[in-house]
């Protein structure tokens, strides 16, 4: 989906964007697998209706919670504990490094569409949604919000994001994990072009109790250089230069290299129990969201 320029402002969403969101929302509500069910059973024990566990009675506990049947069976006073329902937090981390802005910000625009769609579904499902940008560090943040009424604001926020800075996923993710105590679902939308790798950062987030989903954005234009022959390639973020000779063979090897990168990322995420999906920017965003809703954690394009 190409971006449209309206009144001098690039609009990444397209004319049929909201209709597609509604369809995705319906799909999400019908799917049992959707990660966006707002009322999730939290880890804490509270005044819910679902039995959680037994605990010995100690002085000061509410006597009404003592289970008489358990007391007769086990000949001691036991409290019946119930799981407390709580709202889910959804954190959408959008990589806004310069690599995402290559080729007329195709990847960034696609990330915005994905993030907008996820935010809409999350808000519609009464989730707390937070949108953050990440490059060298989390720079911009749309504060945690609830309710569908906040969606236009989120759209405006996403629309104004620009690609800048280098990719430092490791540091950014660690910083995020430290800054945000409320656990929830973290969706990372990135091309994963980090010379220092993203694995440790994601591990750090996971270790803080977040559920991690990775949407790996890929663009075939990264594999189709505009030049042919002797050239000097320059990294758009670091400025690192390297002399190469661009041939058809090298292009094929580029494609293989990216496949290897995707494969390695997928293996790492699956091995850690992260959800992972590749999103080709050439495909419609709703296709990726559909896969995300129906088969979260499965390799999808």
């Amino acid at each position: 989906m190409a971006s449209v320029v309206r009144d001098g402002i690039r609009d990444p969403y397209g004319p049929d964007f909201e209709n597609k969101l509604e369809m995705l929302l319906l799909l999400s509500r019908r799917s049992n697998r959707s990660p966006f069910h707002a009322e999730k059973l939290g880890k804490r024990s509270g005044a819910g209706v679902e039995f959680a566990e037994y605990r010995d009675y100690v002085s000061g506990d509410d006597f009404r919670c003592v289970d008489p049947y358990a007391a007769m069976r086990f000949d001691r006073l036991l409290l019946r504990l119930y799981e407390e329902e709580e709202d889910q937090s959804v954190y959408l981390l959008v990589d806004t490094s310069r690599s995402m802005g290559q080729h007329a910000e195709r990847k960034l625009d696609h990330a915005k569409r994905l993030a907008a769609a996820l935010a809409y579904i999350g808000l519609a499902a009464l989730n707390r949604v937070t949108v953050l940008t990440t490059s060298e560090r989390p720079r911009l943040e749309y504060p945690t919000t609830r309710g569908r009424g906040q969606f236009p604001s989120i759209l405006r926020f996403l629309r104004g994001i620009e690609a800048s800075g280098a990719t430092r996923l490791d540091g950014s993710l660690r910083h995020f994990a430290r800054q945000h105590r409320r656990r929830g679902l973290v969706v990372l939308l990135s091309d994963l072009y980090d010379p220092e790798g993203f694995e440790r950062g994601l591990d750090a987030v996971r270790s803080e109790g977040f559920e991690v989903q990775v949407l790996h954005l890929v663009d075939d234009r990264d594999l189709e250089p505009a030049l042919h022959g002797d050239a000097v390639i320059v990294d758009c973020e670091s400025g690192h230069e390297q002399s190469v000779t661009i041939t058809e063979g090298l292009k094929r090897q580029l494609r293989v290299a990216r496949e290897n990168l995707v494969c390695a990322a997928s293996q790492h995420c699956r091995g850690r129990g992260f959800g992972y999906a590749t999103c080709d920017v050439a495909n419609p965003f709703d296709q990726a969201i559909r896969h995300f809703i129906l088969q979260p954690g499965r390799f999808a394009r």
């Binding site: 690599s99 290559q102 080729h103 091309d191 072009y193 010379p195 663009d219 990264d222 250089p225 505009a226 030049l227 042919h228 022959g229 002797d230 050239a231 000097v232 390639i233 320059v234 990294d235 758009c236 973020e237 670091s238 690192h240 230069e241 390297q242 002399s243 190469v244 000779t245 661009i246 063979g249 090298l250 090897q253 580029l254 293989v256 290299a257 990216r258 290897n260 990168l261």
Partner: protein, 621 residues
């Protein structure tokens, strides 16, 4: 091997090397491509074969191709034609006629300008196997540009040439051409000329040219010309007649012309003579009764109908009067009225008739004329021997001749200068046998009929016929002839040249070594020189009057065209030489055995393009 000077080749090689280095440096300059993640490329490069090895192979291959391109460019610029010693090389000598007749006007353009244009055009059709030597020819043949294939140099050399005021000498020119071509591979000869009938009709074949292709580039078609071929003057004893002018004229046109001969002396008009010249005629006119003259007389032809003929160069001539002291001459003769009349009419001669057999006193006479007799005693003075006896001791006489004339004569000799002897008819004569030191002066066929030399310690001139046995004595030039014989015998005026032709050396005696000399002449000539010896020489290059001012005297030298051959400008068509008709040059098809410069340069450019595409590839696809 090379058609270019060494410095040109070196300069072009330097430029080529600079271009190659520049291209290589440009090749090293890589375009920049911003990518999303260099790490991806690094991984990609590690997946394939070693890039460094591939890079090195490419660069070495590129260097080899660049060297090949440079070699092809150098080969294209440095001619790879056969050297001059290669059997495939054709050697072409071009003789360009620059004699006076080439100045003839051909409807607004001279023959020479036509010749230049046509020659340049023909040379441009030659292929690279032909090397050319360019020479100009008139009274002498001079190489102008030696063996070259460079058409630009040839063109410039041709355009630098101009017509001279000199007569042609094709015998010498063809002999020179033969010497230039001697030993050369595939010799050819081109003659660029107007090919006048007078020049070519009696030309003898040059033996070395019989097997060599001779071609002619012919120019000129007009034949209307009236010109002065001889002009001489002498003072006459008879005061009523004063000055006697002898004017030789030729009309080369096919119709008669009426002309006025305007006579001036030092700018002052002294007379006008009206003459009619029949078509094709050669005529000698005697003009008498003029006065008011001084040292130099100028004659100028003006057509009565006002029309300009094709060659104005021969429309005027100068005659210089000599200053000759009195000479005492003894005429030993049985009686010859014509001889007597000729001698007696010369105011500078004191003639005495002496009967044969009487000894001549050398104290009383300066020179002697023996008519049909020889002295019994040794010669005691310079002598003119007319019709020597067969049994004489002084001159050997051989074949008797009947009905002959002056077929050829030494026109430059003091005795015969300014004399036109072409139509003298001799009834009886004897061929003279010249001794080793004698100088034959005139011939009837190949028989000597006039010679000079020395006998018994005295200078002599011998003529093989009696004056009355010919119509020589009837000619107005006869007294002048006798006068000039005596002048020669006596050594007077020997070094005092009165008239000459352009291109001929003039020798003048000077009083002392280092004498300052001022020479003025036509074309604004005015220079001061000094003599290195007791004789001073100069060569008049242009037609006109030259004045030589010496410390004690002054001398005038008239440079006239003075050639019936040059005045007869009617071209011979077709031009025949040595019995063969000379064809026009034919352009030879370009040789396909040698690589063309253009093909080599095209190959170099194609290779450069291949190298650029294969190894450079700067373009965005």
């Amino acid at each position: 091997m090379t058609g270019l000077p060494l410095w040109s080749v070196a300069f072009l090689a330097l430029v080529t090397a600079v271009l190659v280095i520049l291209l290589y440096r440009l090749k090293d300059h890589r375009s920049r491509l911003v990518v999303a993640f260099v790490g991806l490329w690094e991984i990609a490069q590690q997946l394939g074969p070693s890039v460094n090895r591939r890079e090195r192979r490419r660069h070495y291959g590129s260097v080899v191709l660049q060297i090949g391109i440079a070699m092809l460019i150098c080969a294209a610029l440095v001619t790879l034609e056969p050297s001059t010693s290669d059997p495939a090389t054709q050697h072409l000598v071009v003789l360009l006629d620059v004699s006076a007749s080439m100045a003839a006007d051909e409807h607004g353009e001279s023959r020479f300008e036509n010749a230049q244009r046509e020659l340049i055009r023909q040379l441009a059709l030659l292929d690279e196997t032909v090397v050319v030597l360019l020479a100009t020819t008139d009274s002498r043949t001079t190489p102008t540009l030696s063996w070259t294939r460079d058409h630009r140099l040839l063109r410039d050399a041709i355009l630098r040439q101009g017509v001279h005021d000199r007569t042609s000498n094709w015998s010498e020119g063809l002999a020179r051409a033969a010497s230039y071509l001697r030993g050369r591979t595939q010799p050819r000869l081109w003659l660029v000329t107007d090919g006048t009938t007078s020049d070519w009709s009696a030309l003898q074949a040059e033996p070395e040219l019989t097997s060599i292709p001779v071609e002619a580039i012919l120019v000129g078609s007009r034949r209307k010309n009236v010109g002065i071929v001889t002009f001489s003057a002498r003072a006459h004893r008879d005061a009523d007649r004063g000055l006697e002018l002898l004017l030789g004229l030729v009309n080369d046109d096919d119709r008669s012309h009426d002309v006025d001969v305007e006579l001036t002396s030092h700018g002052r008009r002294i007379g006008t003579e009206q003459l009619n010249l029949p078509a094709g005629a050669r005529k000698t006119a005697t003009i008498r009764g003029l006065d008011g003259f001084k040292h130099v007389i100028r004659a100028r032809l003006v057509a009565q109908d006002g029309a300009q003929d094709a060659l104005p160069l021969d429309d005027s001539a100068y005659a210089v009067l000599p200053e000759v002291p009195q000479t005492r001459v003894a005429i030993i003769s049985a009686g010859d009225l014509y001889l007597e009349a000729a001698v007696l009419s010369d105011p500078s001669l004191e003639a005495t008739l002496v009967a044969p057999g009487v000894n001549v006193d050398s104290k009383r006479f300066d020179a002697a004329i023996y008519d049909g007799v020889e002295p019994a005693v040794p010669l005691t003075m310079p002598s003119f021997l007319l019709n020597p006896p067969r049994d004489g001791r002084l001159i050997q006489v051989s074949t008797p001749l009947r009905g002959v004339g002056f077929d050829s004569w030494a026109q430059k000799d003091v005795i015969l200068r300014d004399l036109d002897l072409y139509d003298v008819q001799i009834d009886r004569a004897n061929a003279l046998i010249a001794s080793e030191k004698d100088v034959p002066l005139a011939f009837a066929g190949h028989h000597t009929i006039l010679l000079r030399g020395e006998r018994e310690g005295q200078p002599i001139v011998a003529m093989g016929f009696a004056p009355h046995e010919s119509d020589f004595v009837m000619r107005s030039i006869w007294p002048l002839f006798v006068h000039q014989v005596l002048t020669r015998l006596l050594g007077r005026d020997l070094a005092e040249v009165r008239s000459t032709r352009p291109g001929e050396v003039v020798t003048l005696p000077v009083d002392s070594v280092g004498s300052p000399i001022r020479l003025t002449g036509p074309g604004g000539l005015d220079e001061m020189v000094s003599s290195a010896g007791t004789n001073w020489q100069f060569v008049p290059e242009r037609l006109g009057l030259y004045r030589v001012e010496l410390p004690q005297r002054q001398a005038f030298v008239a440079a006239n065209l003075g050639s019936a051959n040059e005045s007869r400008i009617a071209p011979m068509r077709p031009l025949k030489y040595a019995g063969r008709t000379l064809p026009a040059p034919k352009a030879k098809p370009k040789s396909s055995s040698n690589p063309s410069h253009i093909a080599l340069a095209a190959m170099a450019m194609a290779l450069l393009l291949v190298e650029w595409i294969a190894f450079h590839r700067r373009w965005t696809l």
